[in-house]
Symmetry: C2
Subunit: 468 residues, 2 copies
């Protein structure tokens, strides 16, 4: 069954399509560009969601829910915003059997409808900061859909906040970048993100600054995994969100918004997968350990069951596979396809020797372990897999970033990987759209890797790559 995956080297996009289908992660939906997230895919999303949600709450934000349908005139209130989203909108024109007087937009993002509420909720400086998050579906019509990566509907969280000062808004937007997104991506998903500032061209429609977390995939392409925006006072002015300051003045608030979506599943799949299927970091794996009874024999199944109970009691997510009517070889191929980080194989011969075989999914390393020490051995191995996948991803990222000095060099390096180039060198080409076919500036950094305040700071470097 593993042979059904197209090898990555042969055709990476086809490998991706194969693994999403064969591991039963998602299907195409009937309306163009929509997606059915199957249980195997959704279980991954549930884990990522829980990790993000815990960190969002730790950062002080609380969850709420705003309507799916936005009056058309709300979208019009912020000029850049409506211009940015207009080509992608889905429009409801009939409701309850009648033509609507005013069409309703299916939210492509919720800045407008949330800020209409904020205008009512924010009165005094005591109401600030206002830190709100929502888990929701959004619709952006997609002409070139790819499961998880670009879909007409996707699931995400979107945070929206109001602050008394520009500095505080800025700090919060950055706090989200570091403490919510970077931490979840790096420490949970083992996908190390590249942090940077978006260029004016790539910035969110309506923002004054967009910080981005970009993943670099096996094929050298970049994937935008999350963004955090400073909105300045653009929406505050459009929706009249003002507070009474300590000094008795009516002041506009300063805002942020930030989002990460089911796209993260695409990053997870592409960053770690190999020709045998998924390779899941234990922190995000719905099943961390699978016990495979390879052959029956006296006491084998009971021993496997005892092991299952022991590992479960230790807080691990375990599955017992005793489906002996299917060959062990075939079942093992399927568990590899699903990317379960650690596999335990047990059969009569192992049992006779009081041991089982431990196999790492990422490296396929096999280690015999005595049954009495299985729990600690599995815990150790899970930690190794988690660390090892991150180290590998970091090394690959380092290798795929090529330092370049000219536009020609940047174009060449960007065609297969990621070019690091002085911003001044590619700036004009980016502005007039001649950077090169499929290439874009993914983000800007200072020379020391820190985040710039503005795209016109001196000495910035740009990362140029193809992107999903």
């Amino acid at each position: 069954m593993s042979s059904v995956l197209t090898p990555q080297e042969v055709d990476f996009p086809q490998w991706y399509q194969d693994v999403v289908a064969k591991a039963k992660l998602a299907d195409n939906g009937p309306v163009r560009g929509t997606m059915v997230i199957r249980p195997n895919g959704y279980a991954l999303w549930e884990r990522i969601q829980a990790e993000l949600d815990a960190r969002i709450k730790r950062a002080g934000a609380v969850n709420a829910y705003f309507p799916l349908l936005i009056p058309n005139n709300y979208l019009q209130k912020e000029a850049d915003h409506v211009e940015g989203f207009s080509p992608e909108l889905a429009v409801v024109t009939q409701g309850g059997g009648r033509e609507l007087e005013e069409p309703a937009i299916v939210r492509p993002t919720s800045e407008t409808i949330i800020n209409a509420s904020f205008a009512k909720w924010v009165q005094s400086h005591r109401d600030l900061p206002l830190l709100i998050n929502q888990w929701a579906n959004v619709v952006r019509w997609e002409m070139r859909p790819r499961l998880f990566l670009r879909t007409s509907e996707f699931l995400w969280q979107e945070g929206h906040t109001c602050h008394a000062t520009a500095e505080e808004a800025r700090e919060y937007a950055l706090r989200i970048v570091y403490e919510v997104y970077q931490e979840t991506m790096r420490d949970v998903m083992a996908v190390p993100p590249l942090l940077g500032l978006k260029t004016d061209k790539e910035r969110f429609a309506g923002a004054i600054r967009t910080y981005s977390l970009e993943g670099l995939m096996v094929d050298g392409k970049a994937l935008q995994m999350g963004t955090s925006h400073e909105l300045g006072q653009n929406f505050a002015k459009a929706f009249d969100i003002r507070y009474l300051s300590v000094d008795g003045e009516r002041e506009y608030v300063w805002q942020t918004s930030w989002g990460a979506s089911t796209r993260l599943l695409g990053a997870l799949i592409m960053c770690h997968g190999d020709d045998n299927g998924l390779r899941l970091p234990p922190a995000v794996a719905p099943t961390q350990v699978v016990i495979v009874v390879v052959k029956d024999g006296e006491g084998v199944v009971p021993a496997a069951q005892a092991l299952f109970r022991e590992l479960s009691s230790a807080g691990l997510r375990v599955h017992l596979d005793d489906q002996l009517h299917t060959s062990a070889g075939r079942r093992i191929i399927d568990w590899e396809l699903l990317g379960v980080p650690v596999r335990i194989e047990i059969g009569p011969r192992d049992l006779a020797e009081g041991r089982a075989m431990l196999i790492r999914r990422d490296t396929k390393t096999k280690v015999p372990v005595s049954l009495g020490e299985a729990v600690s051995a599995v815990q150790k191995m899970l930690q190794e897999v988690q660390e090892s996948l991150l180290t590998l991803a970091e090394r690959r990222r380092a290798a795929s970033i090529i330092d370049t000095a000219s536009l020609a060099e940047a174009r060449e390096a960007g065609a297969t990987g990621c070019a690091r180039v002085p911003w001044d060198v590619v700036r004009a080409a980016e502005a007039d759209g001649t950077l090169g076919k499929g290439l874009s500036v993914r983000c800007l950094q200072r020379a020391d890797g820190s985040l710039p305040e503005a795209a016109d700071e001196e000495g910035l470097v740009a990362y140029v790559a193809r992107a999903y």
Copy 2:
């Protein structure tokens, strides 16, 4: 501030509107009938959702996600289904800047789109039972909206399953009624549901049987809190969902679907609330205990902080209110409005005596407790509140159900409460719509209170009431 709530006796609907607004649970959205669920309301939903989700998983179902947008022709495939939902549909006619060739329906429920996937996923008897749940938003255009109770968009879970036999489907539909819905409503929300079978008239569009869980509110009206449907083979035939049986025959599956929504928040508010605001059962309260520093003094705030840490360490959800710039009286009124089950008041005099005051939100009973015994005293009190709210709701339910023997009696009792009447007595009136203004048969039971198999069993009783 409590005086701002209209007393329940004066105008119950106005009380409801007041408490939803003052406790900041929800606002009206800009598009007709839509709702903004504010953080205080959403925190309740998150807890109910977690409790339902854990039970759904225990019942063997797994989560997945299906598209929001359904092709118009899917809806048409099951005749009763489309007829039932047509008047409530929201229709997307434009996408990505163009008129769509086929309009897309914003899902009012997902039977059709999910069953289109099931037709692909189900091949063999080994694929059964297929037990899927989804957490999602749905849209049903609402002409007489009321926050949480009837809104054009609401949040819910909808389960959809396929089984090899009618019996198995039936058992599963009932398992959901008992182990998921009844348990969550009774043991978590302290809202004891009335279980019954829907009449043919009230049954879900496309089902062969609908089981319902009805709550009886303070004002005597019934609220449908959850339903579980046997779909028979209606959708299986419409979508051609067949499996290869052990005997090698291609058989249609038997199906169920079941849902519960943000309506549950309406039940929670109306079942327990009083003229001072919400009264939350501890199992569902986002904050179970609030420590109110009533007056400052040496060591008071540190003592309150120590108490906070102790209670938090014991696993309780605690909030420390040391906002001394606002009067204690005013803060206490607000905590009562929010329904926090247990309040601890502490001030200099209490501290001098090494004690604090414990107050139950539901009964307003005050008990002094020595600081050293606070944790166990709070735990005991929380349990008492949980039990007491359920007992009270059960007593009220019993009192509002009146045994009646004639249509006239049933009408009279149903006008202010719930009439229990032989089904044969009201059957004709229900069928021809002359039961009485605003009255409906909420559900049918056998005389012993158990669930009937069909509405034409002999000796059934009907519950007649007004409903939300």
